[in-house]
Symmetry: C2
Subunit: 196 residues, 2 copies
């Protein structure tokens, strides 16, 4: 299984270079993830729990600057064109098997955000039901705040938001061998609901 994401962080400030470099500093130091950056995005390859944690931490660090920041991420699992990577399979599975993250019990980060996400289970005819199931899961988790064309909106602390994305990624991967989740997460927007 090949698990990874392309992660981009945007900061709406003149000081964006320092802000972004500071936010992703922790990423480069991790030995449990493969990290490669170019001018468009940062590739992160590794087990999904570590990957989601790393992306969330980078975004939360950036958002704590108080500036308007956005993360745009494409998470992918099981792409047939990609080689198996042992890095993506943790050596010791957690007791009781992989735990599905639960947005209702996950730790808060102290940073509120707005997000929109889409789930693409590929290669299966029944993909619309798989998508509907993940929307319903976010609704039950309390992070869902509305349907938009082509995506769903989440408003919450970054802890529950990234747990919602992670759960959708795991569950869609059970339905389809190859599944993609795309997400845009925004904090400190001057026009945002999180400012009211």
């Amino acid at each position: 299984m090949f698990i990874g994401c392309q992660f981009s962080l945007y900061a709406m400030t003149n000081d964006y270079v320092e802000l972004i470099l500071d936010a992703v500093k922790g990423l480069q130091a991790r030995e449990d993830l493969r990290v490669e950056a170019d001018d468009l995005s940062t590739l992160i390859v590794g087990p999904s729990a570590a990957m989601f944690e790393a992306v969330r931490n980078a975004f939360v660090t950036a958002a704590k600057s108080g500036e308007h920041v956005v993360a745009n991420v494409t998470f992918s699992r099981g792409c047939p064109g990609e080689p198996d990577d042992p890095l993506c399979t943790p050596e010791e599975p957690e007791a009781g098997g992989a735990r599905l993250p639960d947005p209702r019990t996950t730790s808060k980060t102290g940073v509120t955000a707005a997000a929109q996400f889409a789930v693409y289970p590929l290669g299966i005819s029944d993909y619309m039901n798989a998508i509907a199931e993940e929307i319903e899961r976010s609704r039950e988790a309390g992070t869902f705040t509305g349907g938009k064309h082509f995506c769903s909106r989440l408003d919450d602390d970054c802890g529950p938001i990234f747990a919602t994305l992670h759960a959708a990624f795991e569950k869609a991967g059970e339905r389809a061998g190859h599944a993609v989740v795309t997400a845009s997460v925004s904090a400190n927007s001057p026009s945002g609901a999180d400012q009211t």
Copy 2:
């Protein structure tokens, strides 16, 4: 058929609000497109040629500021959950049927950019061949500059770049009733290949 996109524009400058509002001003005035904005993205619904032109023009306007700007767009056609919309079907089809945009002959905009894009033909088992066909098309068009994990890179003038995205969107839609193209387009990046 329901055709539309969720379009976000990011500007890495303190003056991002004015820059973005100025770039999307032309969008709101168009009568051939339905445009609805919230704090995360702008929905554009309408025939695909007009939609791609509108997104390209907004991005080019933003990039001409000289600031580092990024457009993040999810283009969608034929989503089964969406109602048919007469707006998406031009009343008078072009002579000879819909023409496939050709990046090799399309007009240049004078703005160079870097982009990465992915194609998701949904609900069909043969989707990997449909994706490979669009990567090959971008290669033949001369806009393709490299494969990345989960996406392909394009470097060119914005004219050919958006024509490549538009062609992939049309062709994927011939293969799958429901198809999505995601793209990030970046100009004036301090670390960009377009700066060398």
